[in-house]
Symmetry: C2
Subunit: 420 residues, 2 copies
């Protein structure tokens, strides 16, 4: 197989399909989504058989349990995929939405219309459910999708792709609206991320290594999410109970997620009143505490570890928390500037002025007052679904829903207007 | 001079300055802009002397008249710069603007806040007035700027930079908010467009060659404007007078601008009624017509040139127009899909359905009905100023004003909310 030739053809077909999709009504797109959901459910046996092939090959190659777990596609997962598609069908269609339509002094009426980006390339790792999920979000937002899953999930992904193609066909849409790359050759990724004439944006979904590799080599714009080193800052005026509840929740609600707190910053004025009780709660959950000197002193007698400089830059994704005492909000904001990944930060305070300062001065995709960082999520934000969380500043920032997969063009309505 | 070291320091200073700027009130930013405007006017002699050095050197190097014209900075140009700064001071400040603030089912109040992108690198060619203009747009939108002008304008640009620094200082802002690169070494550009840790976006302003070179090598996101191959499509139902007026205006109002029409598409049904008179008007202006076979036949007896395939992909920026007869809107949209640069296209029609189809299906940064493409411009669109016109789909599309130089982060207001 000539990979370059193959990918060029994939790109050309995607571009053509995107033109048909931009003209498709919401009803048509929704009927495709609902058809695919039904097909996934009625193909459970086939999907499961194909997934078994992947699991068997993965076991033979000695892949670890965590990866096997992510690769598995059981009945519950398949129903989850179908349910996800139905939810996306139920969301409002962003395409064609017009806003800010105003008359200008010339008499022209000028505003903006949401339009699809065109062709989106999604590169992801072992979870096969991403195939249906990403395809649905692209399709609903009017974009053709080129999907490249992990090589270990190739059979599962192709089985899901067959359901998608059949559903598109049933709804009268071109089957090239969603293409799942059929080769596991790495060169295909290299082509995908550099085909500027056929691909408008790349969204990598996976670990930091994958994302860095892709954004380091892409010529197509990338919407990316590197990592989540999220901070909670407990100010001296914080309500004691809110502070303890939020700091506890932000760390322990789930460990392996990007919006979990990794570093707790605590104002010296709140230290003795709040930290000892909070540390006991963490200890009961088995959270390892990596403390600066002052927080270590405040927790004397408790089993803590001395933090190193490296801790402030580490996304643990584990029951580990680094803790640093700071002298007021300026020091907290300075620490966040130096060490945050720009994902989500929260202040716990009862002080109006400090809340406003934190909101204005902290430059992260989500900035919160008196709320757990765990809320940074497309569903909690009312987007209905998300394709990921962008830590970029360009185009779209924070949880990315359907609107983040669109662009806005200007529309200009005249009545024979010429420029004088 | 160690260019890499120098640029790293420029980047670090810009990043620090951007943090001070995000906290600056609109009043402070505006007072800096007004101070700079006054300083430019009171430094007219110095600016003129420094510009003379550049002009002298350019003449010695044998640069052509068009370039010398762009390089010149006379009293009128300086007053124009000052006036531009005062206009930008008068515009509303986008920074901190909050929108879509809604309560979610969790009880959290969630919305978006416009924030600066951070540090913007602007790379431009010979016109020194861009120095003041770009600095002002970045500053007002809360961004630190690193400016790299053409080497032939180095003395003029440094003289303008001195006024900017003094104005920033008078207003109590860090002078590093705007830095004009002091070396003409090309390596500095290479550093600027790859310093991802210090620069958030690059905006090249200049010819297609410059922009392609920069976007081909940048690692920092680029907001770019490649070229303007703009189309006007005259539909069979077009009002005869509107069609003639708009097609005439779109071509002849100014030739060397990106929003001038380069190709006229005309429905076969409108051909005999409209094209002969229009062609006579063009002939009176000395516009060379490059015609497809059918339009040539309709203009028999008039001095036309046969169009080649290359004409459909050419931005003339000159009194030349290519003309193609098409069979209806589908053929017009197909031609635009194949040949447009995605800048601006207009349909002239009285048909409601065709107007809606053209608006929905043509994928350009501005799509117009019954208006001249010459209106595609930040001032005409009510943006108050523009740093350029983006033909990208990502981040910002069409004329880019202050809002296009910002990003939106999520803000989340709670009252002790934890995730269950």
């Amino acid at each position: 197989m000539d990979i370059k030739q193959y990918m060029t053809e994939v790109g050309q077909r995607a571009r053509q399909a995107s033109r048909a999709l931009v003209k498709a009504s919401s009803n048509k797109k929704n009927s495709a989504l609902l058809a695919i959901a039904d097909l996934l459910e009625s193909s459970m046996k086939t999907l499961s058989d194909e997934n078994d092939k992947d699991l068997k090959a993965a076991k033979e190659r000695g892949l670890d349990d965590a990866l096997l777990d992510r690769l598995a596609l059981n009945e519950e997962h398949i129903q989850g995929m179908a349910e996800g598609l139905r939810q996306i069908a139920a969301l409002p269609d962003p395409v064609g939405e017009i806003s800010d339509m105003n008359y200008q002094p010339s008499g022209l009426q000028i505003g903006k219309m949401h339009v699809p980006l065109g062709v989106i390339g999604i590169i992801y790792e072992s979870r096969p459910n991403v195939t249906a999920d990403a395809a649905a979000l692209c399709m609903k937002s009017g974009n053709a999708a080129i999907l490249r899953g992990g090589s270990e999930a190739i059979n599962s992904n192709q089985a899901i792709a067959a359901c998608i193609k059949q559903g598109l066909d049933q709804a009268g849409l071109p089957t090239d609206v969603v293409q799942v790359i059929e080769t596991t050759d790495r060169e295909a990724v290299g082509e995908l991320i550099t085909m500027q004439q056929y691909v408008d944006v790349i969204i990598p979904r996976g670990g930091k290594g994958l994302i860095e590799r892709i954004s380091g080599n892409a010529r197509v714009p990338v919407i990316k999410h590197l990592n989540g080193i999220c901070h909670v800052y407990i100010d001296g005026t914080a309500d004691r109970q809110k502070a303890i509840d939020i700091a506890y929740n932000a760390k322990t609600h789930r460990y392996g997620v990007c919006n979990a707190m990794e570093t707790l910053l605590i104002d010296v004025a709140a230290l003795d009143n709040i930290l000892p009780e909070l540390a006991q709660k963490y200890a009961q959950e088995g959270v390892e505490l990596r403390c600066c000197e002052r927080s270590a002193a405040a927790l004397s007698g408790q089993p803590i570890v001395a933090a190193t400089e490296e801790d402030w830059d580490t996304e643990y994704l584990a029951p580990i928390l680094s803790i640093r005492v700071v002298d007021g909000i300026d020091a907290a904001i300075e620490h966040i500037f130096e060490h945050s990944s720009g994902h989500t930060e929260a202040i716990i305070t009862e002080n109006y002025t400090l809340a406003r300062r934190f909101l204005a001065e902290v430059d992260s995709s989500s900035v919160m007052v008196n709320a757990s960082t765990r809320f940074a999520d497309g569903f909690e934000y009312g987007l209905g679904a998300e394709i990921g969380i962008s830590t970029d500043k360009i185009h779209t920032r924070g949880p990315v829903g359907l609107e983040g997969l669109t662009s806005q063009k200007y529309i200009v309505l005249g009545d024979g207007h010429i420029r004088g």
